[in-house]
């Protein structure tokens, strides 16, 4: 089993074997995050790819961020930050590769993005956009499993139905790892910062998140809420157990959750329309 895991890791970490990401992505990764010249350079590179810029702007204006009207890539960089735009570029490329049968997962991801953003704002947390981005990407490992190991993906699905277990459990049994860990590897191979890769890698094991536990907790709770709400299709039909450590880290209570559920449900009406538009493009 350990063999299978390291073999898989090798496949995934080897970016050459990943679905071909647009050229722009590797150019983006080569630029450093903070210096001013490279921000402009980055905006120029992204804007040179019409299709990609269109997708990034659509995502930046999605209900997951929903509080801005972003009309240009350089505005998106200023408002959302370079890291966010970089990962939006990556995720829009990956989501574009997702097949039509992953609509359910795409909707689940958007929903978790929205829920995480609402929760983060409600709690007055810093870096809400980063949290929303991590949430949007949290199950990206599932996309990779179905792209890279389609046989195993079928087996995993079969197992969850047959034995009524969580996807995580089936994944660990079939491939010796799970989508969260795979998502973490992927985030590393894309050079995403820890504040994005940690919530992705530990959204099902919040206690393992050491440096960005607050962000990881938000993504975990948002995932639970969207599963409880039955929005989209994550592959799991059961609501996961709320991890006490996430609850305590965010100091949640019944009142916050009651208000949050109403806010999320309200917003999800828009998300459904948005998702339909995005998919028909």
């Amino acid at each position: 089993m350990e063999d299978k895991r390291s073999e898989l890791k090798k496949i995934i970490m080897d970016t050459r074997t990943l679905p071909t990401l647009p050229n722009v992505i590797s150019k983006l990764n080569a630029l450093s995050d903070n210096d001013k010249a490279s921000v402009q350079e980055m905006a120029r590179i992204v804007s040179s790819d019409q299709v990609l810029s269109a997708r990034i702007l659509r995502l930046a204006n999605s209900p997951s961020y929903g509080f801005y009207r972003v009309s240009t890539i350089s505005n998106a960089m200023i408002l959302l930050g370079v890291n966010v735009v970089k990962s939006l570029a990556l995720s829009s490329s990956i989501f574009a590769i997702m097949e039509k049968n992953s609509v359910g997962l795409w909707e689940h991801s958007l929903g978790v993005g929205v829920a995480a953003n609402l929760l983060a704002r409600k709690l007055g947390l810093p870096e809400c956009e980063e949290i929303a981005t991590a949430a949007l990407l949290h199950d990206i490992g599932k996309v990779i499993v179905s792209l890279k190991c389609s046989e195993a993906a079928k087996e995993i699905l079969g197992l969850t139905n047959e034995r009524q277990i969580y996807t995580m459990e089936a994944e660990r049994e079939v491939i010796g790892t799970d989508h969260a860990e795979i998502g973490g590897w992927l985030a590393k191979s894309w050079f995403l910062p820890d504040k994005l890769s940690e919530p992705i890698a530990f959204h099902h094991d919040v206690d393992k998140s050491l440096n960005h536990r607050i962000k990881t907790s938000v993504v975990h709770i948002a995932d639970v809420l969207i599963k409880a709400s039955d929005f989209g299709n994550s592959g799991d039909r059961y609501v996961p157990v709320i991890q006490k450590i996430a609850w305590d880290t965010l100091k949640l209570n019944v009142q916050i959750m009651t208000e949050l559920v109403a806010e999320i449900e309200d917003k999800l009406i828009e998300v459904r329309n948005f998702s339909l538009e995005m998919m028909s493009e």
Partner: protein
């Protein structure tokens, strides 16, 4: 709250959201949340080409829509494996209350 086509709006229904020109939340709303609809108002919204409105409760029954009992059954199924946990049980109650309220119960 329910989003319905303006065609199905009736006097007495209460807006659950602001109504904007062109259906997107830019500029000033034409008509505010909590407004009680009247026949005159519905006619005016129609003239302004408003297609849908969000109203309180769940006044319109749509084809193929699930009943409260069905929604509750699905909720039970989703929480089957986790409801014995206190935090999940709390979340279950919140969703159940939300469903009851949104279905106008």
């Amino acid at each position: 709250m329910q989003k319905i086509p303006l065609m199905l709006a009736k006097a007495g229904m209460v807006l659950a959201r602001d109504v904007f020109r062109g259906d997107s939340p830019v500029g000033m709303p034409i008509c505010g949340k909590d407004t009680v609809l009247t026949d005159a108002l519905i006619t005016r919204l129609d003239q302004m080409d408003i297609q849908t409105v969000c109203v309180e409760g769940h006044p319109v029954w749509e084809e193929g829509e699930r009943t409260f009992d069905e929604l509750l059954q699905n909720l039970d199924r989703r929480f089957e494996k986790s409801r014995q946990e206190p935090l999940n049980s709390m979340l279950y109650d919140i969703y159940k209350a939300y469903l009851a309220k949104s279905m106008g119960g």
